[in-house]
């Protein structure tokens, strides 16, 4: 089987609208969480989110294109362009034929739908722009990127709530490893900051009133975030042949279902996905030095995830540094796995582990080596990035340092 590597990274997030700015914020422990500015949130039980800032779509798209694009597509396409540019790849007809786009999104074009429904139900308007359906479809990013770059290989979108991007990246990895395609543009994007969706999250009672404090004893829930991250993924052979910069090897992918409950996660399901990702990548637990945790900062997730890590890694869990970067870029739902894979990949590249911001007090129920508030220099051999979705669907990526 082929080895598969990441050769390009693109990010749009609350803490930076390109990979370099994103990384600078991460290692500075700078959180992008603040008062919601996209709409009036004063009647909600929570007023904070991790919104993308200073993002001007007109710098990236002409008026005609903008008509067709929901914000989740803007984020996804801009991140894909950055990743492709960063990779230095030049597509010829053969490579286009053997390249696909595989994206994750939980909500698709929710902002487009929210606006349409508001006009329909609240304002009573009966006429609507004809582009709502293609704007709102969850596969819009995959379709737009394939059209923009002429990529005609396997192209599709996975939607598994908060695991969407990890499922997408995992499929891209397997398709390249087994030789179905040679290159993939893969990742995820999400734009959940619209009033109807925020009301739905309010009713779930899992959003923190102030900020996101993963694994901290005083955690009080998650904070929604928006953005996207995309990667260029290709076989090691093709990356070497063209002399590409390699961020890291994507070594393994594991997925599982809890088969238990819609919203209560299960230790065994999360542990199974982590174990399968290690096995798939031929990694021993002792090789893993960093885990980018799902770490939502809800009462339910963090102790469950801690127990699952203990179950898989045993005593070696004491030697694994753990952080949830959601404390800075928020929980970006279907984009979470992608943004967190970007953080993990850059950790290899920069030999620095991103911190877990807003960490105030250790919780005995979260018995992990949490990278509290300050980035940690470390040259890790392998890393794991977890995503666990509502509905009990788990997807875990394992990465290995690329040794030249």
């Amino acid at each position: 089987m082929k080895k598969v590597v990441i050769t390009g990274v693109g990010v749009v997030s609350a803490i930076g609208n390109n990979a370099a700015d994103f990384w600078a914020s991460l290692i500075a422990g700078r959180s992008g969480i603040g008062p919601i500015e996209k709409l009036d949130a004063s009647t909600l039980r929570f007023q904070n989110a991790a919104e993308v800032k200073n993002f001007d779509p007109t710098l990236h798209f002409d008026d005609k294109s903008l008509l067709w694009l929901d914000p989740f597509s803007l984020y996804g396409i801009v991140a894909a362009r950055e990743a492709i540019k960063d990779s230095g790849i030049v597509f010829d007809d053969d490579l286009r034929d053997r390249s696909g786009v595989i994206t994750g999104s939980c909500l698709g074009g929710k902002m487009t739908e929210d606006e349409l429904y508001h006009k329909l139900y609240a304002e009573g308007k009966q006429r609507h722009q004809p582009i709502a359906i293609p704007r709102a479809m969850s596969n819009a990013v995959a379709s737009h990127v394939s059209m923009e770059f002429g990529l005609t290989g396997a192209t599709f979108t996975t939607s598994t709530a908060c695991s969407s991007a990890n499922h997408a990246i995992g499929q891209a990895f397997w398709l390249i490893r087994q030789g179905t395609i040679d290159l993939a543009v893969t990742g995820g994007s999400e734009a959940p900051i619209c009033f109807g969706n925020l009301k739905a999250w309010e009713a779930m009672r899992v959003v923190a009133p102030d900020t996101c404090r993963p694994f901290s004893k005083d955690r009080s829930g998650m904070i929604l975030g928006e953005g996207g991250a995309m990667f260029v993924m290709e076989s090691l052979d093709s990356a070497k042949a063209r002399g590409a910069k390699i961020y890291a090897e994507i070594a393994g992918f594991g997925m599982s279902a809890d088969a238990h409950h819609l919203t209560m996660p299960l230790v065994n399901g999360a542990a199974k996905a982590m174990r399968l990702a290690l096995e798939d990548g031929g990694l021993a637990p002792e090789q893993v030095g960093y885990i980018n945790a799902h770490g939502t900062a809800t009462p339910a997730n963090d102790p469950m995830e801690s127990a699952a890590i203990r179950k898989v890694f045993g005593g070696h869990a004491d030697n694994i540094a753990v952080s949830s970067t959601k404390s800075m870029h928020g929980h970006t739902l279907g984009a979470a796995g992608a943004i967190e894979a970007a953080a993990t990949m850059l950790a290899f590249d920069q030999n620095t582990l991103p911190p877990n911001a807003n960490f105030n007090e250790a919780d005995p129920e979260c018995d992990l080596d949490v990278i509290a508030n300050r980035a940690r220099p470390a040259e890790i051999e392998a890393a794991v990035s977890n995503s666990f979705a509502f509905g009990g669907l788990n997807a875990v990526l394992a990465f290995r340092r690329y040794q030249r």
């Binding site: 004063s42 009647t43 909600l44 039980r45 779930m204 009672r205």
Partner: protein, 93 residues
């Protein structure tokens, strides 16, 4: 208008939610005894919000784990509308 007490209306909501006779809903009955998990509990609180036209703050939900605690919580919120999140944000007349 109904002459039912808050407690009777709360019992009615529980009975309807669990499809059980109201007389089987006792004041010391807990969510756990009724087989309600956390998501069921949230749905029940939502039914109570609809019945009484109130908004229950997140922190108060944590202290509603039995029929008696729900009655106490609802009576408190009816007496203190300013502590309901959306009311607090609304300008008062």
């Amino acid at each position: 208008m109904s002459e039912e007490s808050v407690a009777e209306r709360v019992v009615g909501v529980f009975a309807k939610f669990k499809k059980m006779p109201p007389e089987d809903v006792k004041m010391d009955t807990t969510f756990e005894e009724l087989g309600l998990d956390s998501l069921d509990g949230l749905n029940l609180i939502f039914e109570l919000e609809e019945e009484f036209d109130i908004m229950v703050p997140d922190d108060r939900v944590q202290s509603m784990k039995s029929v008696a605690e729900v009655v106490e919580g609802v009576e408190y919120l009816l007496a203190h509308p300013e502590e309901q999140p959306n009311n607090a944000a609304r300008p008062t007349a």
